[in-house]
Structures are given as C-alpha cells and as structure tokens.
Symmetry: C2
C-alpha cells in the first residue's frame, strides 16, 4: 500500500513537505534545532527543561500542529490511557447514563473510553475481551450473564477489570446496585399501604439484576404478610412491550392483585398502558410501582413511584475504582461495593394524592445515597 521511504536519502526528504500521515516529533526537533529527547521532555513535563526552550518547543509544536502519536507512545510506556467498557444489549436510558458517568471521570483523568455494546452471547464477549490486549489499560465489564471464571479465562493477563452489576467474583473489583434492598423496600412500602395481593413483573431470567430484585420483592412481602403466592409473579424482559403483556395477564388473575411492582420502569410504563387500556384506574383500582426511576417516570400519568438508582454515579464509581486499580498495580486489593437506592414515592402507588401536577416527588430515602464529588 504505502511505499517505504529510504532513509538513505535524507537530503531529498528534507525538502519534502510534511508527510501526509502526520507530523512527527522529529520534525519538531528539526524545526527547533533541538533533539527529540528534549521535545519529549517538554511534552511530558517530567524532566527539567529550560523555560526558554520549553516555550520554543511549544510554539513549534503548535505551529506544526504536532500531537504525539498515541500508538507509538503506548508501545513504550506500556499504557494506552484507554479503558474498555463492555456492555450488554441494554435498554435506552441506562446505557447512556452509565457511559456518561464513566466518560466524565475518564476524561478528567486523561483516559479515553473504548465501548463495545450489544453482546448477546458469551463467545462474542470473549472475543472482544481478547482483542483488547494492547488497546486498553483496564476494562469495565457489565454483563449480567457472564460468570467470573469465563472472564478470567479470557481477559489478557494482568489486565485490571471492574465488574459492573455482575455476579461478584473473587479476583475482581466489583460494584453494583442494591437491587435486593431497593426491591425489598418497595415491597414493604406497598405492604404498608395495605396491599396484600401484590403482583411482580420480573425481568429476564438469568439476569442478575432481575433476580436480585425478585428476591427483594419476595422477602419484602414475606416479611409483611407471609409467603407470597407464586402466581403473582409474571415474567417480563425489561422491555415496555413485555410490561404491557404482563399487565394484561395480571388483570386476569383471580383474586385480582391490588398492586403491581415491575422490576423496571420500562415495564411499569408498559403495564400502565395496559391497565389504562382496560379502564383500570391507577392508583385507585390498582397501585403501580417500578424500579430505576428513569427521567420519564416523573411525567407519566399518574407519575410513577419507583426505586431511584444513580446510574451515572454507578459508572463514575466503576471508573474511579478502575483508576485506583491501575494506580495500585500489583499490590491492589479487590473490593466489592454496593450503591444504595432510595424510594421515590409518587402518585401511581396511591400513597399521595395529586398535588399540583404531581411532579416534585417527596423522597423517602431508605439509605443515604453516597454523594459523588463534582
């Protein structure tokens, strides 16, 4: 493709314009009459350089529009200043918030984010994992289905990894949402409102978040009223459509539940649509609650009671954790961290009557959210 340039003809080369491929450090050196070492020093600021030289170099670099070549630099320093982020095929809002949180911290520390999304099967995830060697300094893996040992087997040796909302495995840092606690609190809340027949719309089977929320729901109800009946759990897949179908199913149950708790807001909204389509008043004839507190939940009619999760913070903390691991090097000790949730009570569960437009939820915090410094 590209012809090699003989280095034995420096005179000829000297008269050529800057290479199409981009200016190199050598050209800056030539332009300033300094050595490449000095240019490098100025750039990295590690070693002492005379102020005058410094300015000269900076000026020349700017003029020639030179930016150090990432790959070349990586080859030497053994660091790419890239982090990989592996995400599952996930629904809307979640995804962007996570990335936003990660990227915020990453950029602040001079890192770039390499994403890889929509991993359906495991072997695909593993391929991507392997392809990461020499491209990233660490990875954040969010796969509600992959097991820790599969991860370990496919991760390039010594590549730090942080598990996000996965099944926590030893040998890794991990960070996750208190799915269990949030669902537990919501179940208790609904019980506290007097509901004895509460239906649950579950998330996809095999999904860790989904299972934890289910557990929380069960335990919460059990604590209140004893063993919940199995038929009050309807299957869903975290999508609106599945919530809609679940809503219809629930209306056919007998005795009919008086409240529905969906494992996420998307399904709750789908369910709401089904209930309204059937002429069932929410919350008067049926209370409804979700999980995630996505932005839109404040604007449904009635506004949706939900479990608040700070997704952006989840991403940010994962990134910070990864940076710590990077800094610690071999001496790093793995930790597991759980992010707390809080109940957001709006009108859909019947605990509050519509005040104004019902848009400024009063929050009943189960545990305090760990604040993120900005």
């Amino acid at each position: 493709m590209r012809a090699y340039r003989a280095t034995t003809a420096p005179e000829a080369e000297r008269t050529l314009p800057a290479r199409r491929e981009g200016v190199t450090i050598r050209e800056v050196a030539r332009a300033t009459g300094l050595s490449v070492a000095t240019i490098s020093r100025v750039l990295n600021g590690k070693s002492a350089v005379r102020e005058e030289t410094r300015k000269k170099v900076l000026a020349a670099a700017a003029r020639l529009r030179w930016v150090p070549h990432g790959a070349a630099r990586s080859l030497n320093t053994k660091e790419t200043r890239n982090v990989g982020v592996l995400l599952p095929d996930i629904y809307g809002e979640f995804f962007s918030e996570i990335i936003r949180g990660i990227d915020l911290i990453a950029r602040r520390r001079g890192f770039h984010v390499l994403v890889s999304s929509s991993h359906s099967d495991r072997s695909e995830t593993e391929d991507v994992l392997r392809a990461l060697r020499g491209r990233v300094d660490g990875v954040i893996v969010m796969s509600p289905t992959i097991a820790a040992r599969d991860l370990r087997d496919n991760l390039p040796e010594g590549l730090p990894a942080v598990l996000l909302n996965c099944i926590a495995g030893k040998g890794f840092d991990s960070i996750s949402i208190d799915n269990y606690g949030g669902a537990y609190a919501m179940a208790r809340h609904l019980s506290g409102l007097g509901h004895r027949r509460v239906a649950f719309i579950a998330g996809p089977p095999g999904n860790h978040d989904a299972e934890e929320r289910r557990r929380g729901f069960r335990d919460g109800l059990r604590t209140s009223w004893g063993t919940p009946r199995g038929e009050w759990e309807v299957e869903g897949d975290f999508g609106e459509e599945s919530g809609f179908r679940a809503g219809k199913e629930i209306l056919c149950l007998s005795p009919r539940p008086t409240a529905v708790f969906a494992a996420n807001d998307a399904m709750a909204i789908g369910c709401l649509s089904a209930l309204q389509g059937a002429g069932v008043e929410v919350p008067d004839q049926m209370a409804l609650a979700g999980f995630d507190d996505i932005p839109i939940s404040r604007f449904t009619a009635p506004p949706l009671t939900s479990v608040r999760v700070s997704i952006g913070e989840l991403g940010a903390r994962a990134m910070e954790r990864l940076l710590t691991a990077l800094a610690d090097g071999a001496g790093h000790t793995h930790q597991h961290e759980t992010l707390t949730t809080s109940l957001v009570v709006r009108e859909s569960c019947g605990a509050r009557r519509a005040p104004g437009a019902g848009r400024s939820p009063r929050r009943k915090t189960t545990r305090s959210i760990q604040e993120e410094k900005r």
Copy 2:
C-alpha cells in the same frame, strides 16, 4: 518504574516464565522454532504459509494465549482499527441507539469504537479531537453546534470524518435526518385535521436539528394557513422539564392553540404531563405531537403521535460511510446523505380514536425509509 531486561542474557531469559506484561510474538516464535516473520504471516494471512506451519503457530499462540499487541501493530500499519465517536450531551434513548448502530457495523468489520460524550463547550471538543491522533483511523462527529471549519482546524491531518446531524460542511462526509421534512409533514398533518392554531415547542437555540424542525414546522403551517403567529412558538431545550414548562405557557396563550407540536418526544411527554395536570384532555381539548418516536411514546396515555426516525440506522450508515472513506483513501469523494422520516399517527393528535389499547400505530410514510441490509 519497570526494570529493563538486558537482551544480552538470552540464556537466562529463556528459562524465565512468560513475562508479566504479556506474551509477545517472539515467544511464540521461540516456542515453535520459527521466526517472528512467519508468526506474523500466519496471523495476517496475507502471505503464503505451509499449512503444517500454520497449524503449529496457531496452536502455540493459543497455548501461550498470545494476542498481538494493538499499539505495536498500529505503529507500522498506520491503522488502529479504532474509530472515534464524539457525541454531545444528549438525552437518553438517542445516545444508546446511535452507538448501537455504529458498534454493530464496526464490530462486523473488525473495528472498535472510542466514544467521547458530553461535550459542552467547543474547546473541549477540540481538545478531544486533537488527542485522537494515532488512536483512531477516523471519526464520527455529532455536534449540533460545532462548525465545519472548527472541525477542520482541529482534526489531525488526513483523518477522515463523518458529520452526523451537523451543519453540513464541504470537505466532509455527512449524514443527517430529514428534520425539516419530518416537521413539515407533521405540521401539514395537524393542519389537515383542522387545527389553525398550532403551538410549537422548540429545541435549544443554536442546535441544528432543532432549527431545522422549527423551519419545517413554520413552512408546513404556512403552506396550509398562511404565516403562523410568532407567539405560538415556545422555547424548550429537548428535556422533559422544559416541555412541562412550555405546556403551562401554552395554556396561558390567548386565543389558546388547539394543538401542540413539540420538537422532540421528551418535551411532548413533559407537555402532556402539564396539560393533564391542568385538566386539559388530550386530544379532545388539545392535540399533541412529538418528534423522534422514542420507544416509550407508544405507551403514554394517550399514545403519542410522532415523527419516526431510525436512530440506529443513522449510526450504522455513518459508520459505513466512514468505512468507505477509509477504504477509498485519498481518492474519496465526500457525500451528503439524508435519512427520511415517517409520520406515526397515534391517538394524541386526535386523528384516531382509541382502538384496543392504541398500541399498533398505523404508519403513514412520507417517504420510504432506506432499508439497511442486515
């Protein structure tokens, strides 16, 4: 930090276990008794290698878990097989769909996606742009505010770029949504239903998408009824909250509009909440329509009439365009492409009466969507 290993002690080294830093091509060469060149050849498959040798190499590579080092490879092939994606601080669903579309195509062709999100100001965008040299082979830039010339000034020389929904500038490939056409069609649709007083909730000023939608709205109404009145345009920022505020404002207008067209669905949903909070029936007392057709719009009450945009396809096409540019090299000719939209008529505009749950929209296509091969 890391001690250098003297290459003058090969015997000593031979007995050492694999380096902590990762296996290199040399170790595979040593293990197979072949030269590094041969290893490289089987890996890249460009040059002929004896089948037997090939197998031996592959086996050794697998056993040693060797994966070529990205940076090293990039340094002499001049390609990273990474593409950069610059995204603005954008709302939820949009973001994930775009990335999904891009990543789908990228992975299929062996590329990785480097994202950078949440760019508020221009200088930040420019910094990121510059830092991309040697890290990516091309970029997809989505900045509704940056001008083409700022881009050109900060892009590493010769780095192909595709503009996504930006102000189209010459010297770049670009691809965008037919914002104007979609908004025009919606304005005509509302007019066709008999609405003579239609309010518009605008997007953020300076945002290209927003402005185009506004133009389309104006022209569509003008074509129908003559010059629309200025006060029927209310400012918003694409967020739900701003739609809510706009909804309240609109209710104070006199004479009161009979229909509202929001520049995106998030604002339409906020507006819906405001209308319902004020006891105004939708669509009977006020028709409502949005733009984007986000998944949730099918599940609002009433379901929202909107302009459908295939976001995932937008990302996919941008990526394909970039790959074409990469393949063409210097001989590439820039093109501008516009993705068509289609009207999705649901109940919020009053054109249909609630059938069932109102969930299966009949589509009136303005122009055919260009299908993407799968």
